[in-house]
Amino acid sequence: MTELRATPEKSAGFDPFGFAARFAPLIFLIVLMAVFALLEPRFFTSVNLFNVARQVSITGLLAIGMTFVILTAGIDLSIGSLLAFAGLVAAAIAKGGLSDRFTVGDDAIGYGWQLAALGAIAIGLIGGYVQGFAITRFKVPPFVVTLGGMSVFRGAALLFAAGGPISGFDKDFAWWGQGKVFEVPVPVIIFVIAAVLAHIVLSYTRYGRRVYAVGGNPEAARLSGLNVNWIICSVYVIMGFFAGLSAFVLAARLNSAEAVAGTGYELTVIASVVIGGTSLFGGVGTIFGTVIGSLLIGVLINGLVILNVSSYIQQIIIGVIIVLAVAFDTFAKSRRRRA
């Protein structure tokens, strides 16, 4: 949204409040990183920062999809479950079935990572489409449909793998989660490419404008002749795509897929998106913000662990900081309007 705010004031030189409003989450992130770096210099090593980036990539991919959903004033609670299901399907394909589920390393036969990735993404797309269909066709609120989906996909994942993990993939598969290109972890590269593409789609294409319009005022969008149902359905399909993709990357990263993977991801991911300045009421938000929001949560979790803060206190700090980050963003924006 910040970038939408076209500003005649732009020419009036540097506007500190405008800057703060636009980059509030980024400022917050930088301060947070500075604090961690001061408290524990090892936080700031390149190894650790790459770790953070890699950890963030998985939920970050989900957050990109979630940005589309939230821009239409929707929500998707099913992503964690869908991810688990898609991951198991990918794993089963990669292992050529369920019988060899624990065979380790290259001995594992199977159908290759290409088919496995396709399988995960297909499951994601189908899961997203079914939910989008229920939302637009039966007029059931996204919260309810995806709450149902959360239960259904988890059940499906557990049933599919009979409750157990599937693990040990070949090197090519594992490369997608563990490999590096010039020191940069592969998941990070995937995340960055996905973020850039999503940014282009949202900012410069017809489709992107329509997503904002539907979120901003669905009735107005309908009366303007947009196919609102189609657009709403499509964002859940996009979300499903990202759930499938991150399922694949996560499986490669862990060298294993489990039915309990992704539990609780929905809230982390929604929090990342909202911290990045996207409004839960739709129509306002950017991919840039979402990336910052995802990094903020990733840094927070990593930093507190590195500082070896007791896990109970970690939870308290994380909760407080999430609220503060959004409060700071709100405050910065209101300051700007005052200025």
């Binding site: 410069y204 901003g216 002749g225 129509g283 309007r337």
Partner: protein
Amino acid sequence: MDTAPPLLRMSGISKSFPGVKALDDVSFTVAAGEVHALLGENGAGKSTLLKILAGAQSANAGTIEIDGKAVVLANPHEAQQRGIVTIYQEFTLAPNMSIADNVFIGREPGSRLFINRAELESATSALTRRLGLDRSVRTLVRDLSVAEQQLVEIARALSMQSKLIVMDEPTSALSRAEVEKLFRLVRTLKSEGISTIFVTHRLEEVFEICDNYTVLRDGRNAGAGAVAETSIEGIIRLMVGRELSGLLARRSAGLVGPVALAVEDLVRLRTPTSPHAIELRNVSFKVRSGEILGLAGLVGAGRTETARAIFGADPFDSGRILVDGEPVSIRTPQEAIRHGIGLVPEDRKQQALFLALAIRTNLSITVLDRISNALSFVSADKELGLVDEYRRKLNIRMAGPDQLVGNLSGGNQQKVVLARWLALGPRVLIVDEPTRGIDVGAKVEVHNLLFEMANAGIAVIAISSELPEILAISDRIVTMREGVVTGEIRRDDADQEKLMTMMTLSVGEAA
């Protein structure tokens, strides 16, 4: 050519909502290149008919023919494909998107995939300039005033390829200057052979711009014909089905009481919630109990800002407000109400109504304390009595007190809002565009209500963009321009021309 079918023929259209038959066997014909007025009281079914034409609602019965061919308009997209473009009565913009994005939403220039921003913006600014909308096309719609938003909606309609433009009360939020610009555009369209359907409650406008008219009453055809062959009275008779009762006698100005509200040097800088708001500079005026003070000004004169500042809806930077001679501190609407000040806001849907709640809840919200007992239980009898009282007094058309306000016609919604404040019985009542979208009959009723209130000793501040209305109801008129008071005049000394001059004076000239 005489045998050619009309551009549009709707016949036998019926439409029911729960408890209401909005349209009953209505026929409606529009020829190519004409400007056709669709008239009727509030709730007559005008908007419903036009929404059916726009594909936004479906009829229960009836046929639509375009150029003699029967068509089915299942959704707005199909209607637009056939060249029917609609400006709706309600707000249909995305508030967080820019003017340019809103104007071309769904039809952006560019390649199949990507938008050409430069072209989008230049095309938009060409349109907005023609309409006299003096804003960067990148301004967010939510930062615009109601009038400006209306202009954006018009710009959007004009940007579409059309044979027929439907305008449902486009002028209700506009002042004279913009109305004239709009009419100039309508005439240009007409010369290009494009037809316009025009809905308004300002009947003079019909005689200015329209060729033919159709009147609906209670969801049925009440009459149609050429504008040249009728008069305002004739149309009113068709709309109302009876003679209108005249205006009430007003209490003479001599009986006006002491100063009830005084505003002194009110200053509000470019402000907290709206970066584009009008700055108020040293606004001062007084209003006495029993008096109706008219606030006149062009769009952007700062009248709404003044009203909101007095009412505590927005903060102001300096200045004093005195109630009954005592300076008071008002920071919230709650405090304003405690000091006996009420405000009927400009935008009823966004700022006044609970659309998904019942009429009774909407009406009683300001007087809950009065109609509930010590245990804070709301008395159903008192509440229903209240609804009944105002349904009669204001002739509100409703299926029952439990009907949702969102299902009332625009005019009846406005009456519910007025009733809410009348029920409270404040000492000072500010009404901001109180008759916007209200039909002629109801307008008289609202005016009479304002008189009654003044007669009962209430100080009334009336803001209106219609000069005839200001002249009809005020005892005294204060004019504003760009946040500055430019003059004050007694009604008896005022006429439209004088007011117009005062409204366009700049600060220096005013002094």
